[in-house]
């Protein structure tokens, strides 16, 4: 008697890569716009980025149906917060809410690999990176999704600060300017597109700074 195997999976992976970089007074959040299933492309124009609050932007890769449900859930919770507190949620507050929401489904997880980017209460850039069940950490930069294994080592090479054990204490946020960071993101996506079949078509870049939110697009290889 062999054990019965599942003949159906509730999950699918729609691919794609997400990146976020925190700067001194800005945050860059980027994701490609390709949505795929298996070896097929479903669409070349799907946004994986969602603005949760004025200062908190979420980029998620994985199973987009779960991601859509997760985004709707967070948006509803944010509305309740605004009614109760008469103000928008801060990025660190949204980070904790996202973590709790993910862990709530610890035993039937959201198949979502998230990167949350935004500005903290001092106006400095902040990036939070997650696993599927809500474990999170504030970092200076992060990549998630199908191209993350290609992107992360490159970001480490360009952005990684020296050991936190060294004194004087170094900030995790990059000293790069906003334009340099955007350029780095574009470079990173072009490279990932070369070797990751699930990343390509276009990259959507969202830049959050004191002036507000700005969006840029750049074409990528479509093969």
């Amino acid at each position: 008697m062999t054990k019965q195997q599942a003949n159906w999976s509730p999950y699918d992976n729609n691919g794609g890569s997400c990146v976020a970089i925190a700067g001194r007074d800005y945050c860059v959040i980027a994701a490609d716009t390709r949505m795929s299933t298996g070896y097929s492309i479903l669409t070349r124009d799907y946004s994986k980025i969602s603005k949760l609050a004025d200062k908190a932007v979420l980029a998620s890769s994985g199973f987009q149906a779960d991601i859509k449900a997760l985004q709707k859930h967070l948006a509803a919770r944010h509305l309740i917060y605004q009614h109760q507190h008469n103000k928008q949620m801060s990025c660190p507050a949204m980070a904790q809410l996202l973590s709790n929401t993910l862990y709530y489904k610890r035993f039937f997880p959201y198949y979502a690999f998230n990167v949350l980017g935004g500005l903290d209460s001092e106006g400095k850039g902040c990036v939070f990176t997650y696993d599927a069940v809500g474990s999170y950490e504030r970092v200076g930069y992060s990549a998630q999704g199908s191209g993350s294994t290609l992107i992360m080592p490159f970001l480490d090479n360009q952005l990684k600060s020296p050991s936190p054990l060294l004194l004087p204490a170094q900030d995790a946020v990059t000293p790069l300017s906003e334009l340099e960071a955007i350029d780095l993101v574009k470079t990173v996506f072009v490279s990932a597109t070369e070797r990751d079949i699930y990343t390509g078509d276009k990259v959507e870049i969202v830049i959050l700074n004191a002036e507000g939110l700005r969006r840029e697009f750049m074409d990528l290889r479509k093969d």
């Binding site: 709707k72 509803a76 509305l79 309740i80 009614h83 008469n86």
Partner: protein, 273 residues
Amino acid sequence: MFRNQYDTDVTTWSPAGRLFQVEYAMEAVKQGSAAIGLRSRTHVVLACVNKANNELSSHQKKIFKVDDHIGVAIAGLTADGRVLSRYMRSECINHAFTYESPLPVGRLVVQLADKAQVCTQRSWKRPYGVGLLVAGLDESGAHLYYNCPSGNYFEYQAFAIGSRSQAAKTYLERRFEKFMDSSRDDLVKDALIAIRETLQGERLTSNICTVAVVGVGEPFHILDQNTVQQLIDAFEIVAEEEPPAAEAGDAADQETAAGEGAPAEEGAAPMDI
């Protein structure tokens, strides 16, 4: 209202076929400070009088944003009003989550009315002691509803509730036929004048009233104090009834009386929540 042997329980009918507890709850609405609403084809305006218990305390919040397209003004037991506002917000959020579209106002008021009715038919509950003026916009246009503690609701072109609301109602009755085609600004002006009617001669300043607007292309929001004061100053003519002050000569002056009144009251401005 007389006390009698049929008014102890909300579940006891009187021989005349009345539920006295429900009627007593409506009395509570009449005791609250005034709230008025009026609407045109494209906009709805809510305004209310904010009376603080004493100079030291802040005034009660009587206008609540329920969603981008719905707001509510309350009169009566404001605690009950707060709870019902929370319910309304929750219903709007849940509807938008499921249907990706705003909850139509007519549906919301029915849900609210049904909730109020439950409290008129349970021996362990009491009716909500608050009247709600629900202002909202949906696909079928701009709406103003009034929800009673009894569980009844009606749609209105313009309405006023709370203490001394009859004065406002009289003013609105004279003018309501023009409201449908009024501009947004005229509607706000009419709202402020209606509020002034309930003050029985007391000076109207932005400190003691709150105004909120919702309309086509304009999400529900409460107007800030400065804007309201400017609107009041624009239509406020010479103060006819000066308070009998010791300096008879100065008090008899023109617009300067209005100018002097505002700075003096700024010190006692209620706290913003």
